[in-house]
Point group: C2
Chain length 200, copies 2
């Protein structure tokens, strides 16, 4: 059975975007399966008493520089910093759940992260979300209706509660079994953990 | 002229300890010179509105795990988590300045970080500080008198103010010229920055 890598992310989080560009190659190298788990970063902050980096001005200023360092490191296109920050991501996160259920998860997730952090688009707008859904072969109208239904809302909430119960306090957060890693900058440790599992 | 790597650290900071075990090899590989700059992390937090990781329980819990991940990564001895945390490090930081002025800086800094994070010793105690000073060939009595003098206190404060003015908000913080990097986990970017400078 392949090892499982759980990837908790929120579309509001630029470090989640960075990690999203790397996790598939990492999982493939190590014969692992990714479980994509959108969650609500704002609710995680609230539940844990943590606060976003931007709440400390010097930290926010460094974050902008640091993100660009990582973009260069990964060879990604120039970073678009969204005009509305935090990105209104709740509906997009729900739509990721809908896309995952339809077998279009990774394609939707990459398209959405690119829309936000490469094109600077506002995924708080339903038109934009419909466009993204259609671009990966979903029926936009059906998908946008789904995200208003209670079971989808509940699933996003369950992902959030589960992450917090297991120790998460920010995004992205990774689990290899109970072994938790926080931050895009811990992906090399995620990889070591998967390699150790293979060796065990 | 060799490139200069400024290393701002505080003995209270376990991530500064981790970085201190790597910076010399990193500098040597890249023909850079290290400027060791003890500063006051508490004052940095106060000036920037930042807070220590332990102030968020979930973050503090992960920090303990993360530190151990790094200790394994670097092949260091098991981590001793000091019984008094934050470590009362002000006098030790001042003593580092005295040791640096006497040409014993790196030896003293390594001995002190080891005492705290490998042996779990309390460097808030003057006896311990005297022992550390003597262990690197300083006259303990003279050195302990120096740390009560205003010019040494002022130098520590100047390092702190300088770091904050240039954007620091935590420890360790590195500068390659104006190029700032925050955290032990950014050392690979520090190295890239030094390599680019060599290439330029």
């Amino acid at each position: 059975m392949p090892a499982v890598l759980e990837f908790f992310f929120d579309f509001t989080s630029p470090y989640s975007y960075l990690a999203s560009t790397q996790v598939e190659a990492l999982a493939q190298r190590n014969g692992a399966r990714i479980v994509w788990r959108p969650f609500l970063l704002g609710a995680v902050f609230k539940a844990t008493g943590n606060s976003p980096p931007l709440s400390v001005p010097a930290k926010g200023a460094y974050m902008v520089k640091d993100l660009q360092d990582w973009v260069r490191q990964y060879g990604l296109p120039e970073l678009a910093l969204p005009s509305t920050f935090p990105v209104p991501s709740v509906k997009a996160n729900r739509l990721a759940l809908v896309a995952l259920a339809e077998g279009k998860g990774p394609a939707f997730i990459h398209a959405t992260f690119r829309a936000i952090f490469q094109a600077g688009r506002d995924v708080g707008e339903l038109d934009m979300l419909g466009e993204l859904a259609a671009s990966v072969g979903l029926d936009a109208k059906v998908a946008l209706a789904r995200i208003e239904q209670q079971d989808v809302k509940d699933e996003l909430r369950r992902n959030t509660d589960d992450a917090v119960a297991r120790g998460a306090f920010g995004a992205p957060t990774f689990f290899v079994g109970d072994d938790m890693y926080c931050g895009n900058d811990r992906l090399f440790l995620v990889e070591k953990s998967l390699m150790n599992q293979k060796g065990a």
